[in-house]
Symmetry: C2
Subunit: 192 residues, 2 copies
């Protein structure tokens, strides 16, 4: 997606440790107009897949999911990072390894809102190791729902998450795939 890549080039900041900061327009401050264009692009890429529910994970996926829900006219469901012990039976749960925070945490969705009639598009801001996305996919599978695919705003193509998911045959659409970043020069190289 040209507009997005241009914006990343313009306003993204490369930091040591393969960190790409896009908090001026995507995941702290949010450019709502850009988000609308992102949602329309996902609509094009997942047209005719019969999406009727959008799933994401708190917090930075929620804004994207709400815009995508608007274009698909579908409800949004966001998985919560569990802070307390779950009550077995009421929620689907999955374990996610956070590489950023160096620990495992549980994500949950209520069984009331995910079931076998749902055709789910998962969206999120970033894909790197794929841990969060695999956790969300586990929730969809546990609910017996149909996975239409995954829509990612920025994929770190030099980390294994995207390749692993594509190998499994999952329809994964990333609007910008970063193949290399250089913290010294600030140069960001996108996959063609």
């Amino acid at each position: 997606m040209k507009l997005l890549k241009e914006r990343i080039q313009q306003d993204g900041k490369v930091k040591e440790g393969n960190i790409l900061k896009v908090d001026s327009f995507l995941n702290h401050q949010i450019d709502v107009e850009l988000l609308g264009e992102i949602a329309k692009e996902f609509q094009r890429r997942f047209a005719d897949t019969g999406v009727n529910k959008i799933l994401t994970i708190e917090a930075s996926g929620i804004g994207i999911a709400v815009e995508v829900g608007g274009v698909f006219n579908a409800p949004v469901l966001f998985a919560k990072k569990a802070k307390t012990k779950n009550i077995a039976g009421e929620v689907y749960t999955s374990k996610v390894m956070s590489y950023t925070h160096g620990r495992e945490f549980d994500i949950i969705v209520s069984k009331d809102f995910l079931g076998k009639d749902d055709r789910v598009l998962i969206v999120d801001d970033f894909l790197a190791n794929g841990a969060a996305l695999e956790g969300l996919i586990s929730l969809v599978e546990a609910a017996g729902a149909h996975l239409c695919g995954c829509g990612i705003v920025i994929e770190k193509g030099f980390q294994p998450g995207g390749e692993n998911l594509r190998k499994k045959g999952i329809k994964l659409e990333s609007l910008a795939i970063v193949d290399a970043m250089d913290a010294e020069t600030g140069v960001i190289t996108f996959r063609e």
Copy 2:
């Protein structure tokens, strides 16, 4: 807001401890169409206040803020609940007491995205004791920004947050004010 009150009556669930569960349409699963109507109502109530930035707090405020940002054509900024020690100088920070979780936490926004040219509308899903909202207002004040007002979807009118803020002269608009709830009967009484 009639549509909202009807939806709360229909799908809200009253639980012991003055808990109103609206997770089927507002803060776990999100009805995006309803959210759009909520945003339009905030637009009417804050017309002519010159809003040019929407501020909220993760996680459940984000969806509302993005819809409101759309109608005002303004960027959204969401305060983060700090998980790590803050780097002094880079962020505005405020302490918020969470009555739900029984502990205090820090909320932060980057100084890059809030400043004296901003005319801020704060939005959130719930107002009860007002701790989160007062924390957000502190961030606006610390940044020297102008506070246009606060837009709340559901105010618990039997808790002191709303009254305290109105006493201070803050323009606070709550789309549904619940004056009483009964966990046994499920009856919800709204303020006229």
